[in-house]
């Protein structure tokens, strides 16, 4: 009872409810659709910057940025069943790490790994003590992190409360691309790599161990898995993804300020992944669209979050999966 975060069964009232999200570590193929459609998808994604005017392109780029962040958040929240309220802070730390390096003249390709590693280190520092205890405790600690980081940024980071404008990556002249088109392609490449990597991480023995811990921590521990180590590593990897996304955010917007990375962002990210659907890749994509286009947490997102949890705990993705069976009326 102490460590099983979600068994889908509430001993308190005797009501049966499905756990949030779906179990991962499954053996489905990485691209379950016909092979030619993968080519179409890639061609479509690459051609976007040549078809779309600058401002919508900026928004599409932001969607990709949040996809990376949500893929990371999904590793702990969807697969690990642990709730993090601090991913906005890791995102902000990554963004500031990139911005500080860029403004001191470091070439932009270097900023990506550095931002990721800084966030990874912080993820370990905060996650390691937190995951030893119950799942609730991680949510509490990460909430405290999310609240503490913006004032620290305002005080310590260059630019202070005014924020820090930086140069966005410039397109190499031989490509003949505009800068925003180049940034889009860079972000797309990183997002695709992040997606592929996360797919294989989740399907690895380590990813399945994480899911097993979520299902029954006691049984998993008896089978030789080390809950604290596995969860701490998952949390740090997830922070790494948030840091990478923060760096991409800096590349995209060319401006960072502490106000962008408050606890509001952390909540928005969590709301995005829950609304999109926990434990699924398409959930991360739908969630990223929600994060980009839904205004900051307010009536709409609060209501959306409560409604999704009350009506469709597996999010939009889960609804879409159940829709065909629902229409054929062979409901389980």
């Amino acid at each position: 009872m102490s460590a099983g975060v979600s068994t889908g069964h509430d001993p308190g009232t005797g009501h049966r409810r499905p756990a949030v999200g779906q179990y991962a570590g499954d053996r489905r193929r990485a691209w379950p659709y016909p092979r030619w459609s993968l080519g179409v998808a890639v061609a479509g994604a690459v051609s976007v910057p040549f078809l779309v005017p600058p401002y919508p392109l900026h928004q599409v780029t932001l969607v990709l940025v949040y996809v990376v962040a949500l893929l990371g958040l999904d590793l702990v929240a969807g697969h690990g069943g642990l709730i993090s309220l601090g991913h906005g802070a890791f995102f902000g730390v990554g963004a500031y790490a990139a911005a500080i390096l860029l403004s001191s003249g470091v070439p932009y390709p270097v900023t990506l790994p550095v931002a990721g590693l800084v966030a990874y280190g912080l993820g370990h520092a905060f996650g390691r003590p937190a995951v030893r205890l119950s799942g609730v405790y991680l949510a509490v600690v990460t909430f405290a992190v999310a609240v503490a980081v913006p004032p620290l940024i305002r005080r310590l980071a260059p630019g202070g409360a005014m924020g820090l404008p930086v140069r966005t990556p410039a397109a190499p002249s031989l490509t003949g691309l505009a800068d925003d088109q180049w940034v889009y392609l860079l972000v797309l490449a990183v997002a695709a790599a992040a997606f592929t990597l996360m797919r294989s991480v989740v399907r690895s023995s380590w990813g399945r161990a994480l899911v097993a811990l979520r299902g029954d921590a006691g049984a998993a521990e008896i089978l030789g898995m080390r809950p604290a180590a596995i969860r701490a590593h998952a949390f740090a990897c997830s922070a790494l993804y948030a840091g990478l996304a923060g760096c991409l955010f800096t590349w995209t917007t060319g401006f960072v300020a502490a106000e962008s990375f408050t606890v509001t962002l952390s909540i928005t990210l969590l709301a995005g992944i829950v609304i999109g659907g926990l434990g699924t890749v398409s959930g991360a994509v739908i969630g990223a669209v929600v994060v980009t286009f839904l205004p900051a947490p307010g009536l709409v997102s609060g209501l959306a979050l409560i409604l999704v949890l009350a009506v469709a705990p597996s999010g939009v993705t889960g609804l879409a999966r159940r829709a065909p069976a629902f229409l054929r009326k062979d409901r389980r």
Binding site: T13, G135, A148, G302
Partner: protein, 270 residues
């Protein structure tokens, strides 16, 4: 220095009341309610609205408590019938929703709230006495009343309680209502100090979470003591070391807890 300690105790009383609410909710329903601070904030607004309409402070207070009890019981209906992680996210949804609603209704303008206690170091005794009274009242209700006995039965074994005819849902609602009353006390206490605005409980929530975590989200006395200590530590750190250090105090407490308490916290029910 002594003045700062007293000032810190006043802040700590607010944290203690909110931490008490968090402990109650977690102990009786196994949920950490992130919306507790926002419910308290709304309670403070309700009290202000009543006073503004011409009611006396000491008449508005019990009315506010009643409203808070109803709001807490209502929130329980939304939250507790779910798996643990869904319930936690539900409270975060409530947090966002309640905050946005308050923003809509009362706008983000700062409002002054009447302070019933005298100013100066001695005024601190007021909030402390209120928190002490709430703690004592809750102790009496939970230890020495029929409803309290049912509450404890549900906390100990919900299924067995259900099988012996206890309406578990209603008892959960009672627990949430009592917690909301404790939270309302913290809201009304903090309002004269920080002015009314929708974001006023943000810092208090983190401190209260840290204090409640110190008691494993189960021990009310540790939670109250933790709240008072965090209040004093924040004030001292903010005054004598570095103003921005305040926000780091709850985080430092949370990170130190697993080291200090070791296995004691791992037994927390989720």
């Amino acid at each position: 220095m002594i003045g700062q300690v007293f000032h810190g105790l006043g802040t700590g009383a607010v944290y203690a009341a909110l931490a008490l609410a968090l402990v109650l909710v977690h102990r009786f329903t196994g949920v950490v309610n992130f919306a507790q601070g926002e419910l308290a904030m709304v309670s403070a607004y309700v009290a202000w609205q009543l006073v503004d309409a011409g009611l006396s402070y000491w008449l508005a207070l019990p009315l506010t408590m009643a409203a808070a009890f109803a709001a807490g019981a209502l929130a329980q209906r939304l939250v507790t019938r779910r798996a643990a992680d869904a319930a936690l996210i539900m409270t975060i949804g409530l947090y966002v929703l309640v905050h946005a609603l308050a923003d809509q209704i009362w706008t983000s303008a700062l409002r002054a709230f009447p302070n019933p206690f005298p100013a100066g170091p001695l005024g601190v005794a007021g909030p402390l006495a209120v928190v002490g009274a709430v703690l004592a009242l809750l102790y009496l209700v939970i230890r020495h009343s029929g409803a309290g006995l049912t509450l404890r039965a549900v906390a100990a074994d919900p299924r067995a309680a259900r099988l012996s005819g206890v309406r578990v849902g209603r008892v959960h609602a009672l627990g949430w209502g009592l917690a909301a009353v404790a939270g309302a006390v913290s809201g009304v206490l903090v309002a004269p100090v920080v002015f009314l605005e929708p974001g006023m409980m943000g810092g208090a929530l983190v401190a209260a979470l840290a204090a409640a975590a110190a008691g494993g989200f189960a021990d009310p006395v540790t939670a109250v003591a933790g709240g008072l200590l965090i209040g004093v530590a924040e004030t001292l750190a903010g005054t004598y070391l570095w103003a921005d250090l305040r926000v780091l105090v709850p985080l430092a407490v949370l990170l130190a807890l697993p080291v200090v308490r070791g296995g004691g916290l791992a037994r927390v029910r989720t």
